[in-house]
Symmetry: C2
Subunit: 135 residues, 2 copies
């Protein structure tokens, strides 16, 4: 009879263990749960990572306004957190979300609505209803 | 009888029209064609965007080596370009790719193999075969 192997102790996640850039920010890619659509890329600081995890509401850092940006606070186009994933270099986050309404301030489902095809820019996504100011 | 409406002239894409950061770089998110899996995030400069479009082989800028990084050149884990998309602020790219082998230098399919669950870090993806040095 062999001893049961000890279960590896889970590593407690500490936002300070991420690699932030010299402005204290880390890029965060928002991906729609279910469809896998990439919705947007924005920036987080340690406080917004912590608030996102604590509240379950995705919160970025607005570089233009210099403040926490609770996504959808004015537009209602909130992102409910499903899961945060960290990349191998710990310098980028993938945030799986349940998106209410369009993610983009232009009222498109995703910010990536312009494709480069045959050397030209092509809009591949129509506008939906109301929006919010850019972050 | 009404005149036919003129077809809007396509906007020719110029890599210089993107918004690069003060190091001349733009974040590029690689997403797998078909599955929609987010594979990695790396950086491009104007030359690597142009080379990616011209060659159909995804080429980043390696910040650690300070040179063009033709993804998979040493490992064979190349990314064939399907399409580049530009976001609303023109400061982030979504690159749809056909990935050969694992995308991550740790030999995982994606670099985002660590999930934060109940406050702890959990590995959600196993290693595959051979790899390449990080970019």
């Amino acid at each position: 009879m062999t001893e049961p192997r000890p279960t590896p102790r889970p590593i407690k996640f500490d936002p300070a263990s991420l690699k932030f850039n010299d402005q204290g920010l880390i890029p965060a890619i928002a991906q729609a749960h279910g469809t896998g659509e990439v919705l947007m890329m924005a920036w987080m600081n340690a406080a917004s990572v912590a608030e996102t995890l604590a509240s379950g509401r995705v919160t970025y850092w607005s570089r233009s306004r210099g403040e926490l940006w609770r996504k959808g606070e004015t537009s209602g186009h909130v992102q409910r957190l499903v899961e945060i994933r960290v990349d191998c270099d710990r310098d980028c986050l993938l945030v799986i979300v349940e998106q209410t309404g369009p993610a983009c301030h232009t009222n498109r489902r995703s910010c990536f609505y312009t494709a480069i095809r045959d050397g030209a820019e092509v809009e591949i996504m129509a506008r939906e209803e109301s929006g919010e100011p850019p972050g």
